[in-house]
């Protein structure tokens, strides 16, 4: 079996996951005396959750299991940064 990301998630979803991964999990953290909080949720924890969710989705699809939850894709308005090369397909 050979499946790449593009077959598992469409470009909009990939773009959205990439955006969330970058915005929530990376970037300058203004620390010290200045408090950073988002609705009392730990940002690092939130970011990890996003990554694990995306990896889990990809893994489930790669393992070939027909999980109905796969249909419950994240919807949104991603900004189209993804530039998947489309290589490595069968």
């Amino acid at each position: 079996m050979s499946q790449d990301y593009s077959e598992v998630l469409d470009h909009n979803e990939l773009s959205l996951l990439e955006t969330l991964d970058h915005v929530l999990n990376r970037g300058l953290v203004v620390s010290g005396d200045i408090t950073i909080s988002v609705a009392d949720i730990d940002l690092i924890y939130l970011g990890l959750n996003v990554i694990l969710a995306s990896v889990d989705t990809i893994n489930r699809a790669l393992s070939g299991r027909d999980d109905p939850r796969d249909a419950e894709r994240i919807s949104g308005d991603p900004i189209g940064h993804f530039t998947g090369n489309g290589l490595g397909r069968d």
Binding site: L20, G27, L28, I36, V38, H81, T83, G84, N85, G88
Partner: protein
């Protein structure tokens, strides 16, 4: 209304009034001057994006009363602003949720302006590309065949009881994970080595997943994006067992780290 209710009402009224009167800055990123003058930029919650300049450092901000909800539209809006700045210059992107008063922002920039300027200088003319690496097919089972005999027979002679079999299975699982990690690291090292000559810097993250070795964030000059794609095509051709997927260009999110020791 008793005295306790009256006190509680006063406290609630006081709190809501303070919230309403306190305007904070939501910070998207920093960049070096001159400040981008684009009044059409819309930020989180359709807020108007503006700039604040301190000591040669430009903060891209919008007004808000409280930190934004961690929702997908807000995260996308954050990145939309940062990406707009990236079209003109390479910013130092902040993590989502960076909200502080204008006075705190001034204090922060004043105390870290040299570090922020140094990072902005390092990023000048660069973008980040993220390269995700996965196995195109199932991970080859070959390396795992040798560990089916997890425990030497002389240590646990036959017949083995349920306890010995349990321990053997646990050791086999541990060995499999260890080998998978080694395999993932070897793949990441191979990919990293292919791009070393082209990029200025890289950050590698290995996943604890056998089918997804990890990702590498590359910092490279904007003018070398074509070479980057060519190098990716060549790497993909050499390793058809891997799925190399890129995204970008991004602001250098993965490299926006200020060393606390320099404070």
């Amino acid at each position: 209304m008793d005295a306790w209710d009256a006190a509680r009402w006063w406290m609630m009224r006081s709190t809501s009034r303070n919230e309403a009167e306190t305007t904070n800055c939501y910070v998207y990123c920093f960049c070096s001057g001159p400040a981008p003058e684009d009044g059409s930029l819309v930020g989180i919650g359709d807020s108007k994006v503006r700039t604040i300049q301190y000591d040669g450092v430009v903060a891209i901000v919008s007004d808000c009363y409280r930190p934004p909800e961690p929702s997908i539209p807000n995260a996308v809006a954050h990145n939309r602003v940062v990406s707009s700045i990236l079209e003109a210059t390479t910013p130092l992107p902040c993590r989502f949720g960076t909200t502080l008063s204008q006075r705190d922002l001034e204090i922060y920039v004043a105390s870290r302006s040299d570090d922020v300027k140094a990072l902005l200088g390092r990023f000048q003319g660069c973008v980040e590309m993220t390269l995700r690496i996965a196995f195109s097919a199932e991970v080859p089972a070959g390396p795992f065949e040798d560990i089916t005999r997890a425990l030497p027979g002389d240590l646990l002679p036959e017949p083995r009881g349920p306890g010995a079999r349990f321990l053997e299975e646990k050791m086999r699982e541990a060995n499999q994970q260890k080998l998978a990690n080694q395999q993932a690291q070897a793949v990441l090292d191979w990919v990293d080595d292919r791009f070393t000559r082209l990029v200025r810097d890289s950050v590698t993250r290995r996943y604890a997943e056998t089918t997804l070795p990890g990702h590498i964030a590359h910092l490279l000059d904007r003018g070398r994006l074509r070479e980057y794609h060519e190098l990716l095509t060549a790497a993909q051709s050499d390793r058809p067992d891997l799925q190399l997927t890129i995204s970008g260009p991004w602001a250098p999110y993965s490299f926006a780290i200020l060393d606390k020791s320099t404070r």
